[in-house]
């Protein structure tokens, strides 16, 4: 099928429909409004549910309910709205329900601004709400990758019975690129949702959707069961891309839009005879720690580039374990770094004048 030129927010919405989205619950916020707007038109045409809730808190609890009933369900928002949804997310994770959440990040803290940002990294990768839980979190760098990952994300959520976060920035939400919607994506081995509270009581015992365990032994067992899922994510489902690593003297670590800009930066550096690689986390949770065991000996420095004041850099340091110097460059406030800014940082480090 021919490629279609679409705005990121609309392309992500269509990808969810292609993945069999049964129900969407949301509340408006810039810069992701085209996503629910598109679904508000398209979901009824497909005989599926679209609800603009009265608030973010209502929307995420509708997601909780519909996921408990066994539906393929999604919500989307941007940073301040995702912050409001944290209570629902921890309940959904605690009750072991599948759901997909799209966060089109904007600058913070508080209401911040409406321009692109990656400042929710820590909130996303640490769970975000209360208790020991994590979200399987994917950070695409292009619209094609966003569409492919969203199509797969519903399977991932069902497989783990855990929320999946699609973490993009406002740039990916707002830009237009040609996308092929019919590309094959991996199909996960899924079991029937026999746990769902779907009203069908003919052949089974009562199903209860719950995150409350008052007996400490029960809760500990529940926590350990959840941990086993997160361990499986870490051991088997890290995703990352390593770019131009052969003979690289320095490596940039960047995700999402920032990695894409870094691709241009390494081309500029190549023209000046500097061989720079990129480690691009595709999952930001689980953090792709395996990539750091594959760094060739030629690499002498690491530069982490983010649209925040230094969040993923902590994870990089954790996994580099002091073997190499880890530097950081970030832009904030909604300002997207230019490739030249990144290549200048690399040159400073390679030249030894980095402070």
């Amino acid at each position: 099928m021919a490629k279609v030129l679409m705005k990121g927010n609309e392309a992500m919405a269509l990808a969810a429909i292609k993945a069999g989205l049964d129900a969407f619950y949301g509340y408006p916020i810039t810069p992701q409004n085209e996503l629910p707007e598109y679904l508000s038109k398209q979901m009824p045409l497909h005989g599926r549910a679209f609800v603009q809730a009265e608030s973010e808190v209502a929307a995420i609890n509708m997601v909780y309910g519909a996921a408990g009933a066994g539906a393929r369900v999604m919500t989307s928002s941007s940073s301040p709205g995702i912050a409001l949804k944290q209570e629902g997310l921890t309940y959904i994770a605690g009750a072991e329900l599948p759901a997909v959440i799209i966060n089109v990040m904007r600058g913070g803290p508080g209401l911040g601004g409406i321009q692109p940002s990656q400042a929710d990294y820590k909130q996303i990768t640490r769970g975000g709400g209360n208790g020991d839980y994590y979200l399987y979190s994917l950070a695409p760098e292009s619209l094609q990758e966003a569409v492919d990952l969203i199509k797969e994300s519903f399977d991932i959520a069902d497989y783990f019975r855990n929320p999946v976060m699609i973490a993009v920035d406002g740039l990916i939400g707002q830009m237009m690129e040609p996308v092929d919607f019919e590309r094959e994506v991996p199909k996960w081995d899924l079991k029937p949702k026999t746990w769902a509270a779907d009203g069908n009581r003919k052949n089974r015992k009562k199903n209860i959707i719950n995150s409350l365990y008052l007996d400490p032994n029960d809760l500990e067992n529940h926590n350990l069961k959840l941990k086993a899922k997160y361990d499986e994510m870490r051991d088997k489902h890290q995703r990352y891309e390593m770019i131009n690593m052969e003979n690289a003297e320095i490596v940039i670590v960047a995700f999402g839009s920032t990695s894409r800009i870094s691709r241009t930066a390494i081309e500029l550096l190549k023209e000046e005879g500097i061989n720079c690689g990129i480690i691009r986390p595709i999952t930001i949770y689980p953090f792709p720690q395996n990539a750091f065991n594959e760094i060739p000996e030629s690499v002498k420095n690491i530069l982490v580039v983010e649209m925040n004041l230094g969040q993923m850099v902590d994870d990089v340091k954790l996994h580099v374990q002091g073997r190499l110097p880890v530097h950081f460059y970030g832009r904030v406030g909604g300002i997207v770094p230019e490739a030249e800014e990144i290549s200048d940082q690399v040159k400073k480090i390679v030249g030894g004048t980095y402070e």
């Binding site: 021919a2 279609v4 707002q174 830009m175 691709r263 081309e267 490739a339």
Partner: protein
């Protein structure tokens, strides 16, 4: 071999975003890689707005264009913002109805088009953007006027179909203004 990076800038309401989108649609139609990226504030009409369009045979990396090959300047504040970024020997296409008596770098190619007045003569001020786009196509030869009109025909259906003709004249008038 195409690798054309363009920034189009003006007031909200001047059709700046649409100009860029038409180029990206035309590229997609021909299976050429493209990326369109808008930048504007919370306001729609009256605020400043710009979009970046990359059209390339190769994979498009950075969505942000730091050194454009061409800038299309629809109002005065946009010239101050983007002229310094234009690459040496790049094209600076200026809507001279609104941008007058400006100082230009001497290492760029400046083309002035009286786009608002040309559009008014055609009968609709709103096609000033298409006059500029016609001039852009004539200078860069990225796409033909027919290729862009083909996209418009797909977009303007029903009651909007009658607008195609004036857009066609606007593209032609833009071409004649610079050739």
């Amino acid at each position: 071999m195409i690798n054309e990076k363009t920034i189009i800038a003006g007031f909200g309401g001047q059709g700046v975003m649409l100009m860029g989108q038409l180029l990206s649609f035309a590229a997609t139609e021909k299976d050429i890689n493209t990326l369109w990226f808008p930048s504007y504030g919370p306001e729609t009409r009256g605020g400043t707005a710009n979009c970046s369009v990359t059209i390339s045979d190769e994979h498009v990396n950075s969505p942000v264009i730091s050194t454009p090959d061409t800038i299309i300047i629809m109002n005065k504040p946009s010239l101050a913002k983007f002229q310094p970024k234009l690459k040496v020997n790049g094209i600076c296409l200026v809507n001279s109805s609104l941008v007058k008596d400006e100082e230009y770098r001497d290492d760029i190619r400046v083309y002035e088009v009286d786009a608002n007045n040309i559009a008014k003569e055609l009968g609709n001020l709103k096609v000033a953007n298409m006059v500029m786009l016609g001039a852009y196509l004539a200078l860069t030869k990225v796409f033909t006027e027919d290729e862009v009109l083909g996209i418009l025909k797909k977009k303007f259906t029903g009651s909007k179909a009658k607008l195609i003709e004036i857009n066609k004249y606007a593209l032609e008038a833009g071409r004649k203004a610079v050739l």
